[in-house]
């Protein structure tokens, strides 16, 4: 195994251990942030190919509802099984929608992806079986029949989130260096050249779309297990916008960007809300403006700048 992989695994274990001593609210915040980080990692694959999806909320919400609904109907709290269902269902839906979306670019891709998420939103709001706009509660997860009891209730979901981010992060890191990963940049730069090199641009985009859907479904599933409650808001376009927001904040230059962006986003939001409950969105907006102005490649570029200075 490569050193960097070991490093990431080590970091994962350390972050997981830190969860044991963290205050409960922070564990909870980080769990939700990491779940969003997963969604944004998928978005990153699309953004590298020059495609901005304003509809990842579709799979985020669908993943969450899969966990909630399957948990109810199959009467199981098995976390791994429920997350598997979430991912499979999301990929299946993406396999259909992707056939259409891979034909579109730019604003059309963004708007079509948003439209599909709004359809899900509309359906859920009208479905009284799923609690309409109030959503419904999800039972706490079990892992091989075990669940932590007592005060640090969300510890289990936290563990799931850290594990998922670590595994998916290692995958994406390797993916971005593979021919399929580079194909994204190639598509962004020149589709004609890609076709003349013998690769189908549509197929490349399609596969990236499926992967992004899987990651968003996983993130949504973890959110459902962690929060214990889900509602249609997860498919609303503002949720999808949040993912784009996080991607811009964290930067798309590295896998760590989405994770850092998501944690930063949740922290700023929490504090902004405490400081000024009525204008917290403004604070978030100003934070994003500042980042775009001073760190156009996201917060991750700070790390890059720092490590480059050290090596040169």
């Amino acid at each position: 195994m490569r050193n960097s992989t070991l490093l990431v695994l080590g970091a994962g274990v350390a972050v997981m251990a830190a969860g044991m001593v963290m205050p409960g609210w922070l564990t909870f915040l980080l769990t939700l942030a990491l779940a969003k980080g997963l969604v944004v990692m998928g978005l990153l694959l699309l953004m590298k190919a020059g495609l901005v999806s304003f509809g990842q909320g579709l799979y985020y919400c669908l993943g969450a509802y899969c966990v909630g609904v399957a948990g109810d109907y199959l009467e199981t709290q098995n976390a791994l099984f429920l997350m598997l269902i979430a991912v499979v269902v999301c990929v299946a839906l993406a396999a259909v929608i992707g056939l259409l979306l891979c034909r579109y670019r730019d604003i059309f891709f963004a708007m079509f992806s948003m439209a599909f998420s709004m359809i899900l939103y509309g359906v859920l709001v009208k479905s009284s079986a799923f609690g309409s706009s109030d959503g419904f509660n999800v039972k706490p997860p079990l892992l091989f029949g075990w669940t932590p009891t007592g005060e640090p209730g969300p510890l289990m979901a936290y563990g799931l989130a850290v594990t998922a981010v670590t595994v998916v992060g290692i995958f994406v890191w390797n993916y971005l260096r593979s021919p399929m990963g580079y194909a994204g940049e190639a598509v962004r730069e020149n589709e004609i050249r890609v076709e003349y090199l013998g690769s189908s641009v549509r197929r490349i985009i399609y596969i990236k779309y499926l992967l992004a859907a899987a990651m968003a479904g996983l993130g949504g599933g973890i959110t459902a297990l962690a929060a214990g409650h889900i509602d249609p808001e997860m498919a609303y376009w503002t949720t999808s916008g949040e993912f784009v927001f996080i991607a811009l904040m964290g930067g798309t230059g590295h896998v760590a960007g989405p994770v850092i962006g998501a944690v930063l986003f949740e922290l700023i939001r929490t504090y902004a809300f405490q400081i000024s409950p009525y204008t917290w969105q403004m604070i978030l907006g100003i934070a994003l403006l500042a980042i775009i102005l001073y760190l156009p490649k996201g917060v991750w570029s700070l790390v890059e700048r720092f490590t480059k200075e050290k090596t040169s």
Binding site: N174, Y175, R177, S178, P179, M180, G181, Y182, A183, E185, A186, E189, N190, I192, R193, V194, E195, Y196, L197, G198, S199, S200, I204
Partner: protein, 260 residues
């Protein structure tokens, strides 16, 4: 014996504009066919049709005796017909090395791997060798958008040659290249081409370049083949003088006036 590549009454129109009216062209292995024709004569349209980028309105394209009409650029490329572009088609924001690595990566796999790295010791070596063959290895770490026109053209042609094509179609390989560098560029390309034994068709406006490299000459005019034969014969053809080369001089004259 039938030709390696042959087109029969190939035609294409864009609405009311007829870009190609009736094109019959054949290319044999090892041949280097020059193509001349004034602006808008249909030369690029011809290459676009042969490589599957544009579908012909009518007519047939035979490659090794079989029709390839209806195939897309991917299939045509994999079959063995490759092209370069009038305006180099590259990945401008990426480095020359990444351009070549991606080109190899996409070409070598029908199903792109997701777990294996693109850049390995071997693939980098392979890219360096290719760039060396075209004399542009010193640009390896540069971003394509910063390269001089001539280097971009060479890189574009190098990517067309990766597949080791049986038929190579070059669309104005020396356009945008300084006069002094044209022959160097063509020497480099022709050396690589001769080694492969491919049949070549190249579009060119410079008569000196045509005279030096082609074994046969085709003159296009208004979407048709005006003349086809030995270079000297076609250049001497009265119609070609009147409609193609003469016209051409006039345009060059106008350009100079415009620049003065």
């Amino acid at each position: 014996m039938s030709a390696l590549l042959e087109t029969r009454s190939l035609a294409r129109n864009f609405g009311a504009v007829t870009a190609a009216a009736d094109i019959d062209v054949s290319i044999n292995a090892g041949e280097i066919v020059g193509v001349i024709g004034s602006n808008g004569a249909g030369k690029t349209t011809f290459i676009n049709m042969v490589t599957g980028y544009l579908q012909p309105s009518s007519g047939d394209i035979l490659f090794k005796g079989k029709s390839i009409v209806g195939k897309n650029p991917r299939q045509v490329m994999r079959a063995g017909i490759c092209r370069s572009f009038q305006v180099a088609q590259l990945f401008p924001e990426l480095t020359v090395l990444d351009n070549v690595l991606i080109a190899y990566g996409l070409m070598q796999h029908r199903v792109l791997p997701m777990f294996r790295p693109l850049a390995t010791g071997n693939s980098i070596k392979q890219a360096e060798n290719l760039l060396q063959e075209y004399g542009i290895e010193s640009y390896l770490p540069e971003k394509v958008m910063t390269l001089p026109q001539g280097v971009r053209k060479l890189l574009d042609i190098a990517l067309a040659m990766l597949r080791e094509p049986e038929v190579l179609l070059l669309d104005e390989p020396t356009s945008g290249v300084a006069i002094d560098d044209k022959f160097d560029l063509m020497d480099t390309v022709m050396q690589a081409v001769r080694k492969s034994g491919a049949g070549v068709l190249f579009v060119e406006h410079d008569m000196e370049v045509i005279a030096r490299y082609s074994t046969r000459l085709i003159a296009f005019y208004d979407g048709r083949v005006l003349a086809d034969g030995p270079v000297a014969e076609v250049m001497d053809n009265e119609k070609v003088k009147e409609l193609v080369t003469g016209h051409h001089l006039e345009i060059d004259y106008k350009r100079e006036v415009a620049h003065a």
